[in-house]
Amino acid sequence: MTDETAPPLAETTVDTVDVTLVDYGLGNLGSLQRGLERVGATVNVSSDPDCLARADALVLSGVGAFAECARRLAPFRDALLDAAADTPLLGVCVGFQLLLTESTEGAPEGETVAGLDLIPGSVERLPADAVRVPHVGWNRLRLERDHPVLAGIDDGDYAYFVHSYGAPAVDRALAACNHGVEFTAMAANEAGHVLGTQFHPEKSAGLGRRLLGNFVRFAATFGD
């Protein structure tokens, strides 16, 4: 195959990866499902916690308030923690925040709501002193560490964000972003197979397609 005929990396499809989208009643699953299917995954949308163990990879989305998402996710908690021990897991937006330790969103003053604590970190409201909140639109990623899902993605590339809460500094950050304050755009656990994006890859045009394709390929070879 010559360079001229080789498909771009992100367009390469993998036809054997079963990705399970966790359907706990919140989130725009349609866009994520389409995004994953376009990069070659077979997507199964499941609201049955017992199905999670069988997936090659898991994707956790979320919209709205952290506390409400955490409440609805409760029946999946044990199954997700079990599966996450040896299955690649991608969290998106609030789905990413749920992978972290805790959030102040929806919690009484001075308290926090617990997340899955798969990646250490705390989520808090973005300060609106100098910038508009929610943070809506395309902003640049600053890459912090290397990871297979970042293949073909460069420092300074744009991703699409829409959120009012964020994790200021996570030790396991793969990428950071700035909107009034520095916050974590992307992070992974120490083993590297549990990861999340504060931005929406399924809405982030070329960068998003590349990242989802990389995740699917990462899942395909994980544990080989």
Partner: protein, 273 residues
């Protein structure tokens, strides 16, 4: 800070004899058919649009079912965010549209009729997906609360609803602040006077609304050239500029506008490979 300014093409969609079309008008009237929604959506997705707005301008309820199918076909074409609005009345309507593939929902008439709809939808779906759209009309009397100067005369802006046909007596700036307080994640601000004129955005209106709220503001109505987008981003604190007819008619591509903005120092996303 590297958050970029967004350029958002808007599709005003209606059906005629069962066929969906994208329409454009002047001052919210005299609609002209300019293309097919799916074809235009595809081309905007490819030419670097930062988002797409889809407004259902059909009047009848029979056509609304058809419209869900059209939204779904448009969503299929996109790898960028899609906002859908027009005739949204309840959280059930919002849920149906989100399930069809919309990422954000714009509400207008129903929110002014019952402002608690903004609270309820923000609570259920999150502020990030609730856009309150406001259609403004100049008023040159003393019934308003917030005044500015437009074309040399003191004026305030009144919210109008039902596609610009019904006055409400409500001051736009007061409503903008209330909508943001109630949980709107963004405001989409249009002007009856500027709509379709291609003579530039209604700057005094947008200045006042941007000053009154801390959520992002999408400027709409009046864009006729890249210079108009430059003007709205440099004279107001708007986060996004929406345009319709200049793109549908092919006068400029999204890329033309963004390249021109980048050349003049406005931060925009150009690497949309």
């Amino acid at each position: 800070m590297t958050l970029t300014k967004r350029i958002i093409p808007c599709l005003h969609v209606a059906t005629e004899d069962g066929q969906p079309g994208v329409y454009s008008g002047v001052n919210f009237r005299d609609l002209e058919r300019l293309g097919k929604p799916v074809e235009l959506a595809r081309s905007y997705n490819e030419s670097g649009a930062d988002e797409l707005v889809f407004l259902d301008i059909t009047a009848s309820s029979e056509d609304r079912e058809t419209m869900l199918d059209i939204v779904s076909t448009v969503a299929e074409e996109l790898f960028i965010p899609l906002t859908v609005g027009g005739g949204v009345r309840s959280t059930e309507d919002i849920n149906a549209l989100l399930r069809t593939g919309a990422d954000k929902i714009s509400i207008n008439t129903a929110a002014l009729a019952d402002p608690s709809l903004v609270d309820a939808s923000a609570r259920t779906f999150g502020s990030q997906c609730i856009v309150v759209a406001i259609d403004a009309r100049r008023r040159f009397d003393w019934d308003g609360e917030h005044y500015t100067t437009a074309d040399g005369e003191s004026c305030w802006y009144e919210c109008v609803v039902r596609g610009g046909t019904d006055p409400t007596g409500v001051d736009v700036v007061s409503w903008a602040a209330e909508a943001a307080d109630r949980g709107a994640g963004e405001l989409l601000v249009s002007s009856i006077e500027a709509d379709g004129t291609r003579e530039g955005y209604e700057i005094p209106l947008l200045e006042m609304v941007c000053d009154a709220v801390s959520v992002p503001v999408i400027a709409s109505s009046g864009c006729g050239s890249p210079a108009d987008a430059y003007e709205v981003f440099t004279r107001t604190d708007a986060d996004a500029a929406l345009a319709a007819s200049i793109f549908h008619a092919g006068d400029y591509t999204v890329r033309d506008v963004k390249t021109s903005l980048a050349d003049r120092g406005v931060p925009v996303r150009l690497d949309h490979a």
